[in-house]
């Protein structure tokens, strides 16, 4: 056991004390943090001022005045505020309360500068070619707003002869190169104006209609043999994704380090020196533990940052601690299965180029859960979900997706999957140990899969 710990310790320190590891560890969240901080400023369009002159041809006579009202700064602010609140309603309660606390002081900033739009109403029988030419010329005098849109309301946009038929709409002409935010604003204002005009034409109280249509979405409550509670949602649903990312990064970093160090030990011929002091099994176990420790350091660092961020927003309650515990168990199982096979690949090849072809299937095994994720999450009791959650090496992913879904599996299935995962670890380590033992002292032509199978059967 001491030897295994010594090997693990060396491999662990050989990775974590390198500048590359420290840089990679810190750089990833640092770049993420910089993006989070800088990107909003870079991509922030709230300071953009909508401005220009719109021309409207309105044969109904009912839309143009409402359009003029719709582009008034106060009306625009009202619509933006309502949209902001609708968005907030979709956010989980803890996030909402944090966000709502933050919104009032910066409401003006959130809503952006008021628009500066002038509306010119053209006669209903205006020559459209001439109007389009006016738009295309864009020979606005200095100080005058630029020509930004020509709106042509269809004659049946407000009322129609056949009550069962769909009402008409509008045509919008804009100069080439107009910013898409101007276009969006124009569409939004026209839609608002036409909706108002239709409501008035049909003697409807729009506010009343909207109240009738509004049914706020509520969190569903899961009812079962145990205590009632809100169905898992929010960040908990992201746990399988977090797990997949962590395992993928863990395998990629830990597995690659293991593979690289094994190939290096083999090519440096230091491996036989090691084998004079430890058995191949001890060497393999030590390397696996060392690499897993590296992955754990990385995960702990990233998870710590994540939890600190959640804690700073008082959102820790969104994460189910039991799922975190299971995530840890599944990570160990998944890492040991895929990591030991990765180690076997490292022992079988002479250099990293040769490793690329042999580790292909393992990379695919890591990627497969991404394909199944949506289907399993949507139908966690389906046959596919059952198969995926009991089939190594993807069972750990599959089960965690089901556990984070709206219909979590019974506990015995969870533990059955863990038992299968543990059996898979034994099997994978057994196969890997045989390949590892033979491959370590094999030089020359790299083995193909048939040779690997022969090694497993022969050793």
């Amino acid at each position: 056991m001491t030897r295994i710990v010594q090997v693990a310790l060396r491999d662990f320190l050989a990775v974590v004390t390198t500048k590359g590891f420290v840089f990679g560890l810190v750089a990833t969240p640092a770049i993420g943090g910089i993006l989070v901080l800088v990107a909003p400023s870079l991509f922030d369009d709230r300071d953009y001022r909508i401005a220009g002159e719109y021309a409207i041809v309105d044969p109904t006579g009912a839309v143009a005045p409402r359009m003029r009202a719709a582009i008034e700064p106060q009306a625009v602010a009202g619509r933006r505020l309502a949209a902001l609140r609708r968005g907030m309603d979709r956010v989980p309660e803890p996030v909402r309360s944090v966000a709502e606390d933050a919104v009032p002081p910066s409401l003006a900033a959130e809503l952006g500068p008021p628009p500066d739009v002038r509306l010119t109403v053209l006669p209903a029988d205006a020559d459209l070619e001439e109007a389009r030419a006016w738009l295309a010329e864009d020979s606005a005098a200095p100080g005058e707003p630029r020509r930004a849109a020509l709106i042509v309301i269809h004659h049946d946009a407000v009322t129609g002869e056949d009550p069962a038929a769909a009402l008409g709409t509008y045509d919008l002409y804009v100069p080439a190169g107009l910013d898409d935010r101007d276009v969006d604003f124009c569409h939004e204002a026209i839609r608002e104006a036409i909706t108002e005009a239709r409501a008035a034409a049909h003697d409807l109280d729009r506010a009343a209609v909207e109240r009738l249509l509004e049914v706020p979405r509520q969190a569903s409550i899961a009812v079962g043999a145990g205590a009632e509670g809100e169905t898992v949602g929010g960040l908990t649903r992201l746990l399988p994704a977090a797990y997949m990312i962590l395992l993928m990064v863990g395998i990629m970093v830990g597995g690659q380090n293991m593979l690289t160090s094994t190939v290096e030990e083999k090519s440096n011929r230091v491996v036989e020196v090691l084998l004079s002091a430890v058995s191949p099994m001890e060497l393999m176990a030590g390397k696996l533990l060392g690499a897993m420790a590296v992955s754990f350091v990385m995960m702990a660092f990233y998870a710590g940052i994540g939890l600190a961020l959640l804690a700073s927003f008082s959102l820790l309650g969104l994460v189910d601690p039991w799922l975190i515990l299971y995530l840890g168990i599944f990570f160990v199982l998944g890492f040991l299965v895929l990591g030991s096979l990765m180690l076997a690949v490292g022992a079988a090849v002479n250099d990293m180029n040769e490793a690329a072809s042999l580790q292909g299937p393992l990379i695919v095994a890591i990627m497969v859960p991404w394909i199944f994720w949506p289907a399993v999450a949507r139908s966690p009791d389906s046959t596919l979900a059952l198969v995926v959650s009991f089939l190594p090496p993807v069972n750990t992913f599959g089960m965690l997706i089901r556990m984070a879904s709206t219909q979590p599996p019974p506990w015995w299935q969870v533990w059955l999957s863990i038992a299968i995962g543990a059996a898979a670890v034994v099997g994978a380590v057994w196969v890997a140990a045989k390949v590892f033992r033979i491959g370590l002292l094999m030089y020359g032509k790299p083995p193909d899969f048939r040779t690997l199978i022969r090694w497993v059967r022969a050793a």
């Binding site: 290096e264 230091v270 036989e272 002091a277 191949p280």
Partner: protein, 328 residues
Amino acid sequence: MNAAVRMTGVTKTFGQMTAVAGLNLEVPRGGLYGFIGPNGAGKTTAIRMLMSILFPDAGTISILDHASALEAKDRIGYLPEERGLYRKMRVRPFLRYIGRLKGLGGADLEPRITAALDRVGLPGVDRKRCDELSKGMSQKVQFVAATLHEPDLLILDEPFSGLDPVSTRMLRGVILEEHRRGATVLLSTHVMPQAEEICEHVVMVHQGRKVLDDDLATIRRAYDPRTVQLEPLDAEADTTALASLPEVEHVRAADRGHEIRLRRGTDPAAAMRSLLDAVPAARIELTRPRLEDIFVDIVGRGAADPAGGKGEPGSASHRASQGAGGAS
């Protein structure tokens, strides 16, 4: 006392190739054994089986009273033929790592590393990175790694390969020092003069089979010296008469005279008198058989005699073939 190493009927094949065939080997405790043979003779495979790095297809192994080296690794020092260092690691951490794997630790380890590096003439290199070392220095560091824990059994596979003469002499001294300390030493080499210089006992293998197993003095005694170096008193003397003597197998010109090969079974003393009678000599010397000559002789006879070169009754090679499981 039990043997430090005992291999009985050990066989190892790789596919169609038999690397080691029914090898019997016994190294007593405190012995200094040379395990010799040409490249590809099966020495490294046999040593790897001793170290439980490879496992035999047949036969049994006992090492320091254990069935497997895995159970006695802390008491064995092994310098493999295929050896290397962690390039990015510094010398002291590397030796510390190997020392700890060998069960060393505590306050004793650091001074032990310093002393071991001093002994092989590498004071102060402990701070160097392994990829900064010359090949000779690397060899010495690897030797230190093999002996740091003062093993009871030291197995050295081609320890002198790549070393310059000065380093070879220094390392030879350290190996003898280890032997004097009480370690059993099994030294494998394909350079037979090296084994001849250092070993008390020689085991020779060829094509996976043991062809010789005896102490060096017995081998020299048993292998009748049949080569005579003769330097004529008169450099211009006619020496054609030498080749026509009945005791002489053949004559060939050597540096300063002639090398005369006597027929098998000839009494060297009588033959030398006949030679002197034929050609007065300034110097005449019966040459001691070299291991290389013995090896060539055994292998040559083995090739001529498909029965396996069992040798003449009473000769060293005869005893060797009786000891070799594959041939007996």
